[in-house]
Point group: none
Chain length 185, copies 2
């Protein structure tokens, strides 16, 4: 039910991704992590099966949590209308369905809020930490929200997710409340 796939390829991809994000070469990373560059080369090629210590030192050198290197990735604006939805779980003996909106990875930190809004424009230009993502499920009322220039109007049960590190705003069209999950890495 869990453990979707052998993480060999995932590690290779994550490793390359994080290294390029840091803007350093294989040789440089090898030096910082105290490893042979040949080892890194093979790892990024998907060949090989690193030991915990090896992978750990890479996490340290890259400044990312260990689990970031072993679990997959996902962002963008995405809306799920009430009732629609992707993967639905249906309880065998029960009258309820649960719709998966966003799967979390271990390295993401998610804070859970309930948000109450009164009508009127309410900018939140603050543009949070880079890499943060917002998830909103409207509980009641109507809210227009999203990144500036790409806002969407939502009603009860509607879900939206969008990057939190760009200017965006919330605007209640009537007294409203919503569940907000703030995700930062």
């Amino acid at each position: 039910m869990q453990q979707p796939a052998p993480p060999l390829a995932t590690i290779a991809a994550a490793l390359r991704r994080e290294r390029e994000r840091a803007g350093i070469s294989i040789a440089e990373l090898a030096r910082r992590a105290g490893l042979a560059k040949s080892t890194l080369s093979q790892l990024e090629a998907g060949t090989g099966n690193p030991s915990i210590e090896t992978l750990w030192s890479l996490g340290v050198a890259l400044g990312v949590p260990f689990s970031r290197l072993v679990e997959p990735l996902e962002t963008q604006v995405r809306v799920v209308r009430a009732g629609e939805g992707g993967t639905r779980l249906r309880a065998d003996q029960a009258d309820f369905v649960a719709t998966l909106l966003a799967a979390g990875s271990p390295h993401t930190r998610r804070d859970l809020y309930v948000m109450e809004l009164e009508p009127g424009p309410a900018r939140d230009a603050a543009a949070h930490i880079p890499g943060s993502v917002e998830h909103i499920v409207v509980g009641g009322g109507r809210i227009r929200t999203g990144p500036d220039g790409d806002t969407v109007e939502l009603g009860p049960g509607d879900y939206i997710t969008f990057p939190g590190d760009v200017p965006h705003h919330y605007e209640a069209l009537e007294p409203s409340w919503a569940v907000l999950v703030m995700e930062h890495r």
Copy 2:
């Protein structure tokens, strides 16, 4: 900044803890994971530095997310009624308040669901992965939920959190929907 300590000892401890929780022997676990029991013996002893594949297969055999084996450790029923709440964020120039319900630590994995329930008892005895925690914010209707023998009735905007690894159930008193955040480590 992160990466507190070499995870050698952590893995040894986590491995033993999870295995004993599953109530199986080293030999049995070795058989399920397709490893030599000698390997496990040494791993639990703290000797050795397992490869990713080895540790992964152990995670699968134990039915535990990979990261649970490599990261350290840290629940109860808690209810926040609509309008009440702990720390409230108030936007300076805006008409909205956000109430922090649950702060996420890194290393916890949180999946976001919307749940629709029809009236009638609906047991979910399944008792998910050990260490999992459920967070629920009711969007509409009325729901009675919580661990068996300790359920609470909730209305729109109410929040509850409780351990997900014990028998519990959802019971909609009328057609309802809710936001569910499933947290497992």
